[in-house]
């Protein structure tokens, strides 16, 4: 009787867990393993002659100026987008959860909209905004600086284009993080603000001495995830909006990887880039985790 019961239980467990494990192994674990493996081969893709070259791909990578350009672009994007998005979403979240604002709910609903749109949709919207001749942005600016001047090429100017992307990425991310911070700010007890008010602490002081320290754990986790997801979102936006152009000015890590793998058909080299990006994002999140470490506060 008991043996039968144990058997029944292990059959149940196996049937429940096995499909998930099998799918995970086939479509996530093995491909991840393959990224690392293929980075050690020289391989044109469709042909079968894979040649083991050890770390040679990485050696070439170190001297690849295009890769360094994509590296610079990615770091610039991450730095700008992270700082601005975090600062703005924290401030707006604090305002919306502390102040009595009319139409608070509708504002919250609106702010979250960009997060539900496909990156392709966002790219199409921004290409309408940034269009040099009939774009929304230039036509507004035209009112102030006169229409007879040459239009600003938001996506065509090599120096400007990266900041145009920064704005698009901030637009996409800000609502999501704001709603997230509002949720965690709601758990800060009201009594703390009441006593701070009694003692005459200003709102800005309250923000820095009460709100920020108490949701610090949440900020830390979101920061780590934000950096990792910025690397991905930058790829998605670049792929749909500029495709790395003009002339490589917006090439980011993963778009360069994708380009090497498909357009250039050097899969091995592309995967070597993938490995470097993988390690870079892990290193960066470890660094952020280390730098932002504080004693967690209880409340």
């Amino acid at each position: 009787m008991r043996v039968k019961k144990v058997r029944e239980k292990s059959i149940f467990i196996t049937l429940c867990v096995a499909p998930a494990v099998i799918l995970f192994v086939i479509f996530m674990l093995i491909p991840t393993f393959n990224v690392f493996k293929m980075s050690l081969y020289k391989w044109g893709g469709y042909s079968n002659n894979k040649e083991f070259v050890g770390l040679n791909n990485f050696k070439i990578l170190m001297e690849d100026s295009n890769f360094f350009r994509s590296f610079q672009n990615t770091v610039l994007l991450i730095a700008c987008v992270t700082i601005v998005t975090m600062a703005l979403s924290l401030i707006f979240a604090a305002i919306l959860s502390r102040e009595k604002i009319k139409g608070q709910n509708i504002l919250r609903v609106i702010f979250y909209i960009p997060n539900i749109l496909s990156v392709v949709v966002i790219s199409a919207i921004f290409s309408a905004i940034y269009d040099p001749n009939s774009g929304l942005l230039n036509s507004i600016i035209g009112i102030f600086r006169g229409t007879e001047k040459t239009p600003i090429l938001w996506l065509g100017d090599q120096k400007l284009v990266i900041y145009s992307l920064v704005i698009a990425m901030i637009w996409q991310a800000i609502g999501y993080y704001m709603v997230m911070y509002m949720a965690s700010m709601a758990s800060v007890p009201e009594s703390l603000y009441e006593s701070a008010n009694l003692e005459g602490a200003s709102k800005i002081r309250q923000f820095f001495s009460i709100t920020l320290p108490l949701i610090w754990t949440n900020i830390r986790t979101t920061l780590t995830f934000f950096v990792i997801s910025s690397i991905n979102i930058s790829f998605l936006i670049v792929k749909a909006l500029t495709n790395g152009g003009p002339d490589g000015a917006t090439e980011v890590f993963l778009s360069y990887m994708y380009k090497q793998a498909y357009t250039n058909s050097s899969y091995g080299y592309g995967m070597a880039i993938g490995v470097v990006v993988f390690l870079f994002s892990f290193g960066l999140s470890a660094l952020i985790n280390f730098v932002t470490k504080r004693e967690p506060l209880e409340f």
Binding site: P31, N232, G274
Partner: protein, 287 residues
Amino acid sequence: MNLSKLYKIFIYVALLALAISIVIPVGWVFLASIKENSEFYGNPWTLPKGIYFQNFIDAFEKAKMGEYFLNSIFVTCLALLILLVVALPAAYVLARYRFFGSKLINIMFMGGLFINVNYIVVPIFLMFVDADKFLRLLGTDGFFLNNLFVVALVYASTALPFTIYLLSGFFVTIPRDYEEAAYMDGSGYFRTMVQIMMPMALPSIITVILFNFLSFWNEYIISMTLLTKDSKTLPVGLMQLMQAQKAAANYGQLYAGLVIVMLPTLILYILVQKKLTQGMSLGGLKG
């Protein structure tokens, strides 16, 4: 007094500016989608002269957005179905039972949260290329590439870590008494799971469906890579329209396509926005 009034005004201006920067471009796309092509030259702020519905007909027929729409619905629904059937039992068992290897499997799925699809899409593609080559050697047609079912399977698989993480987090919080009572009454493991535990998890299941619906519907890197021939999903079709527009300046069609892609998500969002923003604080983070 004056200072606090100024502060209040500043807050309202800042909040409104952000709201406007979101509402205006999205609303503008809707207006642009009913403009005639000739209306796109000159000032972009003019209102449409009439409702030019032909844009949508063109987008549906000429740009094949109608066909892509059906593809997207098929892939999204199938992927959600596979995901729920696979992830729910796994999440339940992993949250409830300790067995040989359970710790390892838990760690594996946690690690999976950090694997992003964009890194592994190339190896997945190559894996299918190899598999198809092998099938052709056996004399059958290729199966894996250009197959909507396979795309749905890949979607579901890559969503597993996040979904299992979210659902197990919920199952852990339910007291064991419910199951013990069920076992006492002679209910088997399967019946207990399906009839007692899953209905209780319904709020979490709805959150899972919402988040994954959005990510499957909006996804385009996997579908762009794995569907190389005629059948595409909506976002990939939209990208095609964007590229075609650069050459042919067919604005009306492009914005009609844009509306077709975002309208379902917007409607869903308006219907369930409370649930979505609540679920977020419950589920934590997305990758």
